[in-house]
């Protein structure tokens, strides 16, 4: 969706320290040129296909459709991207842009670690140096992703300031960029930040919705009636929704993280029920969770990827215009939705994506049988194994962990004595 000079209605814009002016202009120009360059677009499509396996399927969920007895349920399978999430679409695009600009190093922030992994993968492939900022709390919640990022050669920096989540990681990435702008590109992972990031990330993610347009026509003869996506920063939602924005018959629902409740600090609900208020921070104007004095506040979600204090200016604008309906799903509803998909369809969804499922499952039973809905399955759930096991109170998981630890230590000891011998 084209911005008006970086703005979407009253949201968006570019609120960055003066030191970043030149770098930002460079990205603006490089992006404008690249998106109009057929060679760049061809390369992008080739990389999406060869490296990430696009197009991703549109999967009909026969069992769930019967289970609810209402709408025909389809999933857009972004979980089948290389790295297991839609984040790859954007990273491949910006990675090509980094090469085009001739920069040698990439900085990124990550919440769940999905964007961090995707960035580390692409940097390894393109031979770029890579530094990932991650809130110290998220490092703990998503350690397997940290492990792989490091194995891929990235430097992962845990951010111990503030709330120690995505928002602090973003602040720290901006600080790094302020020091290293001449050689480094800030590869933002969602449709937030200063212009042109929201527009650019939405552009790279829009491949999701473009594919759904073709696939829905081919599979059920028309566009879907209703689309569902979870909304953290907003990139998978923008990706699915924006290609349909002018098709007024297509309804859109964004699902935020309701966490444990609607009290401040227990959720990440910015748009639904007016829990957020207008603010200008982290480079852009949008709706933020903040106190009366304009201090950004703590957020919570069972899924690190939705645990963010702000939201895309594009989503904020479309929600305000009434084009997108915003709702939320609570932590426990999300785990239930995840389980339901597992058991009925044999698909393991990310907890982020399970929010979109939960939102859709609430509506599906009361919808007529000739309505078709598409839920964006933004990522796969393998990364959530520890958190889901805990949420389900799986009785044998702790035994596995104890055994693993014992074995790990034994192994370490053997290696050590071998070395000394």
């Amino acid at each position: 969706m084209q911005s008006d000079n970086g703005y979407y209605g009253e949201f968006g814009g570019s609120y960055i320290p003066e030191i970043l002016y030149s770098s930002q202009q460079q990205i603006l120009n490089a992006y404008e040129e690249a998106k109009n360059d057929p060679a760049f677009i061809a390369e992008l499509k080739q990389q999406w296909q060869e490296y990430s396996g696009r197009p991703t399927p549109l999967t009909f969920c026969k069992n769930l459709t019967e289970h609810f007895g209402g709408a025909q349920i389809y999933l857009k399978r972004e979980d089948l991207n290389h790295s297991g999430a839609h984040k790859m679409n954007n990273v491949i695009g910006q990675g090509l842009l980094v090469k085009r600009m001739g920069k040698k190093r990439v900085i990124a922030e990550t919440g769940a670690g999905q964007h961090g992994i995707a960035t580390a993968l692409v940097c390894a492939r393109l031979g770029l140096e890579c530094t990932i900022y991650m809130g110290a709390k998220d490092v703990k919640r998503q350690y397997p992703n940290v492990f792989w990022m490091e194995q891929l050669g990235a430097t992962v920096v845990p951010v111990t300031e503030g709330s120690q989540t995505l928002r602090d990681a973003l602040d720290e990435a901006l600080r790094d960029w302020s020091s290293t702008h001449e050689d480094s590109h800030y590869l933002i992972g969602t449709t937030c930040g200063c212009a042109p990031f929201p527009e650019m990330v939405a552009f790279f993610q829009s491949v999701i919705g473009e594919e759904v347009k073709e696939q829905s026509k081919a599979q059920f003869g028309r566009y879907p009636d209703k689309l569902y996506a979870c909304v953290g920063g907003g990139s998978n939602a923008c990706g699915l929704f924006l290609p349909f924005v002018d098709d007024k018959d297509v309804e859109m629902v964004g699902v935020e993280a309701g966490g444990k409740g609607t009290k401040l600090g227990e959720h990440s609900i910015r748009l639904s029920h007016n829990l957020g208020t207008p603010g200008i921070a982290q480079g852009f104007a949008s709706i933020f969770i903040q106190d009366d004095a304009g201090q950004l506040q703590e957020t919570h979600s069972i899924s690190a990827g939705l645990d963010y204090v702000g939201v895309s200016p594009i989503i904020a604008h479309l929600a305000k215009e009434g084009r997108i309906n915003m709702t939320y799903a609570m932590d426990d509803e999300v785990v239930d939705a995840c389980t339901l998909l597992l058991k009925n369809e044999g698909i393991i969804p990310a907890l982020e994506s399970s929010h979109a499922l939960a939102g859709a499952f609430k509506d599906a039973p009361s919808m007529s049988k000739d309505t078709h809905i598409v839920i964006n399955l933004s990522g796969r759930g393998d990364k959530d194994i520890f958190n889901v096991a805990k949420a389900l109170q799986d009785p044998t998981f702790p035994d596995f962990l104890n055994d693993y630890l014992e074995d790990y230590e034994k192994d370490t000891l053997i290696k050590k004595t071998e070395k000394e011998a």
């Binding site: 320290p17 003066e18 928002r167 020091s179 603010g279």
Partner: protein, 262 residues
């Protein structure tokens, strides 16, 4: 001409360079931060740059970030801050106070109201590092109306035409960032070319009639000395806070005197 520029030009007749010391309002407590400002003013600081804390200060390095987060353990109000530092401005008419913050707390308070209240309290300058000139139309209009100076920043990597533009629009003084990066000792290694500061300042001077303030990374006497004749104000931020953290007001004042009492 602006009230701040007049003040700077008049004071510069008797001083080779003026001092601007930075204090985080509310760190470690409101009371203590105000006493600390009072001590600096007693000791002849020409300016105090009072930072109203924001939860996400992206242009600041670890020292100032930590101070802001500590200060925010209390509930701070912009209105009370303006009253408190307005009182200091009245008590020390030989010095000036300018307000620095990030856009969001000021935006939530109301930019028009902010400028009006600054004028009432005798706070003549406003520094908002995440508000670029282009996005500041409303604020500039309010400042014009009330005789307050919005202070713009320029950096060693500001393109030439933009530099000329910002310099010619400078009011009060132009804040010349001495190097890439954030304030203070950073976690991040700046790799940008070590700009020749004097050359950089001379090129700004050719575009600007406003006085020049220089900040970011100043911590030694030689650095201040080298600025004399090239800039009007030396801005002392993280180094002062580091000294204060190390040994309280006494150590802070010792650094201030070492850098400026010559």
């Amino acid at each position: 001409m602006s009230q701040l520029a007049n003040y700077i030009n008049a004071k510069r007749e008797s001083k080779p360079i003026l001092s601007m010391t930075h204090v985080v309002y509310g760190y470690p407590t409101v009371e203590e931060s105000l006493t600390w400002m009072g001590t600096l003013l007693e000791n002849g600081a020409d300016f105090i740059e009072v930072q109203f804390p924001f939860s996400d200060p992206v242009a600041d390095g670890p020292t100032i970030v930590a101070a802001c987060h500590k200060a925010l353990e209390q509930t701070l109000s912009v209105e009370q801050c303006l009253k408190d530092i307005g009182q200091l401005a009245k008590n020390y008419p030989e010095s000036r106070l300018v307000l620095m913050s990030y856009l969001n707390p000021m935006y939530r308070y109301g930019l028009d109201k902010l400028v009006e209240r600054c004028a009432e309290e005798g706070i003549l300058g406003l520094i908002l590092p995440d508000l670029p000139y282009e996005q500041a139309g409303g604020l500039r209009a309010a400042c014009d109306k009330h005789g307050i100076d919005p202070v713009w920043l320029v950096t060693p990597v500001t393109p030439k035409d933009r530099m000329a533009f910002l310099a010619s629009n400078a009011q009060g003084f132009l804040y010349c960032v001495a190097r890439s990066g954030v304030t203070g000792n950073s976690n991040h290694e700046g790799e940008g070319a070590q700009t020749e500061l004097q050359h950089y300042l001379a090129s700004i001077k050719s575009d600007s009639s406003a006085p020049l303030g220089v900040g970011f990374g100043l911590r030694r006497r030689e650095q201040i000395k080298e600025l004399e004749g090239h800039a009007d104000i030396a801005i002392l931020g993280s180094a002062l806070l580091d000294a204060y953290n190390q040994g309280g007001q006494e150590t802070g004042i010792a650094l201030f005197k070492e850098l400026f009492s010559h």
